[in-house]
């Protein structure tokens, strides 16, 4: 159950088509791009796991401020080091594809934004999220006052049960009303 050599078997291809939201062309393109990341010896092994540093050289991920989180969320490795197998990579592309459902996208978006992996988005997560969006240097951050005002506004809009954090269902609820989400949460190779 993995990919060997440089060709995908036909039944494996149709199995992937059923398990993901990707079309045949997209799966083949993903396979091609993934095998380009492998070294020569790794190409012969089935189910190779590519370390995060190499995944992050892909142009689609290289400049993304959430790249480390993305690798971490989709990785199935036990060491939690963000390394991806080909199937993890397909999962990643499937969640970010055009035809993925809103629920899948919002689920994975929640996990990507949950920086401390505790199941809710609390003030710390939100602050890290805003800093990721605006930039890491000092002059591109919001002031503490502005950050406080912003986080208060976000919690006011999304925290329905007023517990100070945004849990998954609140997040999905606010995303369902957000018109930009589906078009922006997209990565196409």
């Amino acid at each position: 159950m993995g990919t060997t050599a440089s060709q995908l078997g036909k039944d494996l291809l149709s199995e992937y088509q059923e398990l993901t939201f990707l079309t045949k062309q997209e799966i083949l393109l993903a396979h091609k791009r993934f095998t380009e990341l492998l070294t020569k010896d790794e190409k012969d092994l089935p189910n190779t796991r590519v370390p995060a540093e190499r995944i992050l050289t892909l142009p689609e991920l290289k400049s993304n401020p959430f790249r480390k989180r993305i690798c971490h969320v989709f990785s199935t490795s036990e060491q939690k080091d963000g390394s991806l197998t080909f199937e993890d990579f397909l999962d990643l592309l499937s969640a970010f594809s055009d035809s993925a459902t809103l629920e899948i996208k919002s689920h994975y978006a929640f996990r990507i934004f949950d920086f401390d992996d505790d199941g809710t988005l609390d003030c710390g997560d939100l602050e890290k999220l805003v800093n990721c969006l605006t930039g890491e240097t000092d002059e591109t951050r919001l002031t503490t006052e502005e950050m406080r005002q912003l986080i208060n506004n976000i919690l006011e809009e999304s925290d329905i049960d007023k517990d100070g954090t945004v849990n998954l269902s609140e997040f999905q609820h606010v995303i369902s009303r957000s018109p930009d989400f589906v078009s922006s949460f997209k990565i196409v190779l």
Partner: protein, 748 residues
């Protein structure tokens, strides 16, 4: 810190784990699964197909018995790929479902497999259709470099290309094709003619004798001369009926119906395309349209790949957030205004609006004067020299373009003094620019018509000035043609002669001018207004010039590539971000305004102005519209009665009343839904507080019982050691709200 536990702050603000909250069914159903390669661990089976109550994110709870799950999963089988799990897990589900399927009856198996095959077929069809989409690769590239805001402009452009193509295909197949194939299919064409009347003399501008080369160029650019009596213009279709072997084709009727059809088709297509955006606006009218959550959670375009674009996107997001936060503060300031200040502001706004109206009136008058001057010069046939002739021909277009260049700058200066909130400023300036652009076409047409229907001596004999405009529809068609060509020339010229030099100056010259001017920004609103203006001209002009949609299709086709090249080489993304969601809605709203504006002249000229007697398909009728009643009266009795009944007042009034009732019902329903939503929201907040209150009480009770019976401290807890010992050691079974957590429940 236990990864999956819920934090609970008590009054002193200390955060500690609360295992009670962890056990609540609602929390357990929300916990997502960890992706773990240890497939041997007993997992919480949160993904055995969705149960019927598929809300957002509620999966099957682990505590439901297996039999119930099986029943539920049989009733609703979501496709496996919609589960948010790893590939290995999804495979397990497929094998499990196949096992379950084997236990089902053969009929159900057949149904399931057909459903699967149909789904696969549908996916293949969609894949094939999307492969056919025009410019996929280019748009993907632009998206990667500039994000979804600018992308929406280019997909709007692509939509207009398709729309114009469809309109042209309509026009071609119903109006031109019969004419072209008639000789080949032994059809007999009867031409229209009105003998004897003075109105039916056609004095076209066809040139005779030796023609200079540059006059051909003038003709090409102005639609006169050799182009006048071609398929390009209305005047060529001097056909009454085409008699094919089996049928008779009524060309005037077809011409009229196709006009109505393309306007209607455009309306339906635009409304359909804007339906999703509009629905969202309706839902969101209680929240701010650009809510903070939308900006933060959906703010990052994951498709951007360019390093530069990332930096710019970050700075534009920062700018947008700061502006919004500032806007909140300004709103507070506005609410705090005193009465005196408010009066002063209103007075200033009144004066400035009067000034704006004055400027608009001046522009409209200059367009009117330019049109009349240009028409007079063309009629008097004064030929000075090539360039001056062209300038006279294009004078209205030049004046319109100049006015549309100056007024936006003026508006953006004026709006600074009117002291509105920033978001409203942008929208108001845009509205003014839209109004200016689209009304200028209306003024041009109005001035044309005032010329056409004005005769020197009293009311016109033929209903129009037949001495000067023996074929006035062709003349109007020529003006529209000139507007289109000039618009295209301006876009190309601005790109070549303004944007490229600007880039060269800014990149290679270090002078103050370069710094002040700055790099070209791709201003989406202005670009959109340009192409909506062109599309409005196309809609108006298609009735007078049936090949205009084809010209517009090619024009937009080339504009795509010109804008793309200019964007990639010259421009940087705007510092003021234009959101994709609102922009789609804005584009289609402006396009609808353009369509509405285009319908007015067309219907007016069809219904009111006498069609010319010297050319065109409507010679035998007074107005273009008349062909419909005439045809209806020739129909068999039954259909005629039906059509007359449909157009009678009784039917119209009752239809109107029924539509009003339906509208009131829907509005009332929407209001009721909104009230229910508000109530539910309050209830949810209250439930949350109830929950926390109860848990607080429980914890107090635990503490009291722990103080009373300290013996249980030494007993080891059989659940995971991650819970805080102070709580977990003091539990007795009665305190558990749900069931005891299974081993390794919260860290999967």
């Amino acid at each position: 810190m236990e990864v999956d536990s819920v934090f609970y702050t008590d009054h002193s603000g200390r955060v500690h784990n609360n295992p009670l909250l962890d056990q609540l069914p609602s929390y357990q159903s929300l916990l997502y699964r960890r992706k773990s390669s240890t497939s041997g661990t007993k997992r919480r089976s949160s993904s055995r197909g969705r149960s019927g109550s598929s809300g957002s994110g509620k999966w099957g709870v682990s505590t439901v018995s297996r039999r119930e799950e099986k029943q539920k999963s049989q009733t609703v089988q979501r496709p496996v790929r919609e589960l948010a799990t790893t590939m290995a897990e999804k495979r397990r589900h497929i094998t499990q479902r196949l096992e379950e399927a084997r236990e089902l009856s053969s009929l159900r198996q057949l149904r399931q497999s057909t459903r699967r095959h149909l789904r696969r077929l549908r996916d293949d069809v969609y894949e094939w259709l999307s492969w056919l989409k025009l410019w996929r690769g280019d748009i993907h590239l632009i998206e990667g470099m500039f994000g979804t805001g600018i992308l929406s402009y280019f997909s709007f452009l692509r939509f207009l290309v398709m729309l114009n193509l469809i309109i042209f295909v309509l026009m071609f197949s119903f109006v031109m094709l019969p004419l072209i194939i008639a000789p080949h299919v032994s059809g007999n064409i009867t031409y229209t003619q009105k003998v004897g009347s003075v109105c039916s003399e056609y004095s076209g501008t066809a040139r005779r004798g030796l023609v200079n080369f540059h006059e051909h160029i003038t003709d090409l650019l102005s639609g006169g001369g050799f182009l006048e009596r071609t398929y390009l213009f209305y005047g060529y279709y001097k056909v009454d009926k085409i008699h094919f072997p089996k049928t008779t084709y009524n060309l005037p009727l077809a011409y009229l119906l196709v006009t109505i059809a393309y306007l209607f088709l455009s309306l339906i297509w635009i409304v359909k395309r804007s339906a999703t955006g509009f629905k969202r606006n309706l839902i969101q009218d209680e929240d701010r349209f650009q809510s903070f959550c939308n900006k933060i959670f959906a703010g990052w375009d994951f498709c951007i790949t360019n390093e530069n674009a990332v930096r710019l996107k970050r700075s534009s997001l920062l700018y947008e957030l700061r502006t919004d936060l500032e806007e909140e503060r300004i709103k507070q300031k506005i609410a705090d205004r005193t009465r005196k200040e408010r009066c002063r502001i209103y007075l200033i706004r009144l004066i400035l609006n009067l000034f704006v109206i004055g400027v608009l009136a001046a522009c409209f008058y200059s367009i009117y004067a330019a049109t009349i001057f240009s028409q007079k010069v063309q009629m008097d046939n004064i030929k000075e020299n090539f360039i001056v002739d062209l300038i006279y021909e294009y004078l209205p277009s030049i004046v319109i373009t100049l006015a549309n260049f100056i007024t936006p700058l003026l508006f953006s200066v004026i709006i600074n003094y009117e002291d509105y909130s920033p978001a409203f400023e942008i929208r108001f300036t845009l509205m003014r620019c839209v109004f200016m652009r689209l009304t200028s076409i209306g003024v041009l047409l109005f001035s044309l018509w005032s010329q056409i229907t004005k005769c020197d001596d009293g009311p016109c004999v033929c209903g129009y000035n037949n001495k000067l405009y023996s074929c006035w529809e062709t003349r109007v068609g020529q003006e529209m043609y000139k507007l289109t060509i000039f618009d295209f020339i301006i876009i190309v010229a601005v790109t070549i002669f303004v944007e490229f030099p600007r880039k060269l100056i800014v990149n290679y010259c270090d002078c103050g001018l370069a710094k002040w001017w700055g790099q070209q920004e791709f201003a989406i609103p202005q670009n959109v207004l340009e192409i909506v203006y062109g599309q409005t001209i196309c809609w108006i002009g298609t009735f007078y010039s049936p090949m205009l949609p084809a010209i517009c299709t090619m024009k937009y086709f080339f504009i795509f590539y010109i804008k793309k090249v200019s964007l990639i080489n010259n421009c940087r993304p705007a510092t003021r971000p234009f959101r994709a969601s609102s922009s789609n809605f804005f584009f289609l709203a402006v396009l609808l305004i353009g369509l509405a504006l285009a319908c007015v002249p067309v219907t007016f000229s069809m219904a009111q102005i006498n069609s010319s007697h010297a050319c065109g398909p409507f010679i035998n009728y007074n107005t273009s519209w008349e062909v419909l009643p005439t045809t209806v009266s020739e129909l068999p009795g039954g259909i005629q009665k039906l059509l007359l009944a449909l157009s009678s007042e009784a039917f119209a009034v009752s239809f109107f009343v029924v539509t009003c009732l339906a509208m009131f019902y829907v509005i009332a329903l929407a209001g009721a839904h909104k009230r229910v939503i508000n109530q539910l929201r309050e209830q949810l907040a209250m439930e949350g507080r109830d929950k926390r209150f109860l848990i607080q009480k429980l914890c107090q009770a635990q503490r009291l019982s722990a103080i009373k019976s300290p013996v249980s401290k030494s007993r080891p807890r059989r659940s995971s050691p991650s819970y805080h010992t102070s709580f977990s050691n003091n539990f007795n079974e009665a305190v558990f709200l749900a069931h005891s957590p299974p081993a390794s429940s919260t860290h999967v």
